[in-house]
């Protein structure tokens, strides 16, 4: 249990470090910090700037200011968006769910299908399917995610007119709760596919590599020697160990996945955090941008904690810190 407490303390430390970084960036940026915080590209009124200076104590020494800032963030106050005239926290809360939905769907799609494909091909290393996994992994990794998205939009807008290509809801939608969920699900397919395909390719390759390695180990030979059915050997004995590197990499790559989601949201007009960050840049709405950065960092930290938790579920023997994989990995 001590390690779990240490993990959580460490995570809180990381989040604190991100808050400090946020504040330092405001001060490192050229120009008056009050103007940076107020945003609006210097068009803020003198009263607004005075208000910001008072709120953030910008006439006090740096450390005091930092203390004030950390205190505010800790209370959930990320400042005010001058474009929307709303608190940044509430803006982010509105946009959090779509991003979590998109990233979660893409991740589950990539891991489940990837591990299935990897396991299948590991049992037939020289089959065409196995070579296809290698090729597709290379292609998937090399395609810019926003370009994949655009190509899918072109395809589905002009040839296959079966799925919506933009947004999260139909404009003229008026149905019940279930129908509205279905509506969101239909809008989710293309963005999640775009984001998931890259990782699907990588995870299938990774899980094939680790499956091949696991299948050669002694305990698998033992399992076979005592006459277990091949299905039981592969899916019950080997899979548990083979899936660990995939979980490791998925955890490490969560930040990259989030970055990808940002681009995908822009392409598909998905109303999530990435779209919000992008719009905030266009509007010079710095408080929102910094808030999204912090929120995203929190999401990565939480994802890492969940990964650790997942390790314990998959493999009770795992001593955190002693895991190491020798498989092909590109993070």
């Amino acid at each position: 249990m001590r390690t779990a407490a240490a993990k959580i303390a460490q995570s809180l430390g990381l989040i604190l470090a991100v808050i400090v970084l946020n504040f330092s960036l405001i001060h490192l940026a050229p120009g008056d910090p009050a103007v940076v915080i107020a945003g609006e590209s210097g068009a803020a009124s003198p009263e607004t700037l005075a208000q910001v200076r008072a709120d953030y104590g910008l006439d006090k020494p740096f450390v005091t200011q930092l203390g004030i800032y950390v205190g505010q963030v800790a209370r959930g106050d990320l400042g005010e968006s001058f474009f929307f005239g709303r608190s940044v926290t509430s803006l982010i809360a509105d946009r959090l769910w779509p991003t979590v939905l998109l990233v979660g769907t893409a991740l589950i799609f990539a891991i489940v299908l990837g591990v299935m494909a990897g396991t299948f091909t590991a049992r037939r290393p020289e089959s065409p399917a196995s070579h296809a996994v290698t090729v597709l992994a290379l292609i998937g990794y090399s395609m810019p995610v926003f370009w994949t998205g655009i190509l899918l939009v072109i395809l589905f807008a002009s040839v296959l007119k079966i799925l919506p290509i933009s947004g999260m809801h139909d404009v003229e939608f008026d149905g019940g709760l279930l129908a509205s969920w279905l509506d969101v699900a239909r809008h989710l397919v293309l963005p999640a596919l775009t984001l998931g395909v890259i990782y699907l390719a990588q995870y299938s390759r990774l899980s094939r590599a680790s499956m091949l390695e696991v299948l050669q180990s002694d305990y698998i030979r033992t399992a076979r020697a005592k006459g277990l059915a091949e299905k039981v050997v592969v899916y019950k004995h080997a899979l548990r160990n083979a899936v660990i590197p995939v979980v490791t990499i998925a955890g490490l790559q969560f930040g990259a996945l989030l970055s990808g989601a940002l681009l995908v949201e822009t392409v598909f007009n998905w109303p999530g955090l990435g779209r919000l960050a992008f719009d905030s840049i266009l509007r010079r709405d710095t408080p929102v941008l910094l808030g999204v950065l912090l929120m995203a960092a929190v999401m990565v930290v939480v994802a890492n904690l969940l990964t650790d938790l997942l390790y314990r579920v998959i493999d009770p023997r795992i001593r955190v810190g002693a895991r190491r994989t020798r498989t092909k990995v590109s993070t």
Binding site: A29, G255, A256, S259, L293, S330
Partner: protein, 292 residues
């Protein structure tokens, strides 16, 4: 001091030349190498061979390739030549990626080597530092940096360099941890080599193969990253790049597929070439893992 023969190279399984020969026998890897030189050739000599300014308006907007009077890859929403853009759009991307890669290797290898070699407190502190950068959502952080500072090629390179080094640091650390207690390192210590010498001349050459592979893949990642920033309109506003071309034509691609397809293809081929080369190097350095 007389130069004692250092047992530097003994860990390298297939020595350099064998690895190179193996690399050349790998068709996919050679294809990657050819693609890479093709892109380099297009970027450096293309502008001389195809003398068209990518910013000039040469014809009506949205001329589809193959129609009368259209350039080979058609024209964009202003009537600019897409082919000229593709030819001239690579230099920014490649330069930014190269500068970023130098930064990534410098930071990543230094931090990883120190952490792996010294272990203990040094390791703990450096790895916490690395973790911090791993937690930062890379693209978002780069977006913030570019927005708060000026969007120049320099800022963008630094932003990419700052966010992509952690994976290389972790790999370097793992290699140093693996190598630091081996016989030849002990031998070097026994003859009184300094730490700096052991790190740079004894362990580092033996850790090189996986680092080279990883650097190649990181180059690809840096290119994707630059393209992503440029696509969002956060690139250097004064220079053309493939990502920017896609971003600028984002509103019109439904009726003008060629404006986004060709620049995207250029990015794809460039990154693919790095992936193929990295893969080939991996197989060449470590034949045991071939085909995985």
């Amino acid at each position: 001091m007389t130069d004692v023969m250092m047992p530097d190279q003994q860990e390298l399984v297939p020595a350099g030349r064998d690895a190179w020969r193996m690399f050349l026998r790998n068709r996919a890897a050679v294809a990657g190498l050819i693609m890479f030189f093709g892109i380099l050739f297009m970027t450096f000599f293309g502008p001389m061979l195809y003398d068209e300014d990518p910013n000039d308006i040469v014809a009506r907007p949205f001329l589809e390739p193959g129609t009368e009077g259209a350039p080979a890859m058609g024209t964009d929403y202003l009537g600019r030549d897409v082919l000229a853009g593709v030819i001239n759009g690579g230099s920014t991307t490649l330069t930014v990626a190269a500068i970023a890669a130098v930064m990534i290797v410098a930071i990543g290898v230094t931090i990883g080597a120190l952490a792996g070699f010294y272990g203990g407190t040094v390791d703990t502190v450096l790895m916490r530092f690395t973790e911090f950068f791993q937690v930062l959502p890379a693209l978002l952080f780069a977006m913030v940096v570019v927005t708060l500072f000026e969007p120049s090629a320099r800022t963008i390179s630094i932003a990419i360099g700052l966010v992509l080094w952690p994976s290389l640091a972790r790999l370097t650390r793992a290699e140093f941890l693996r190598l630091r207690n081996l016989e030849f390192v002990k031998a070097a210590r026994a003859i009184g080599s300094t730490d700096l010498r052991i790190i740079s001349r004894v362990i580092f050459p033996n850790a090189l193969p996986p680092l080279i592979v990883s650097t190649t893949l990181v180059m690809g990642a840096a290119i994707l990253f630059e393209a992503g920033l440029a696509f969002l309109g956060l690139g250097d506003p004064n220079t053309l790049s493939w990502g920017l071309m896609i971003g600028l034509n984002r509103g019109n691609f439904l009726n003008a597929w060629w404006t986004v397809t060709f620049p995207g293809l250029a990015i794809f081929i460039t990154v693919l070439s790095f992936s193929l080369i990295g893969d080939g190097l991996q197989d060449a350095f470590n034949p045991k893992l071939r085909g995985r």
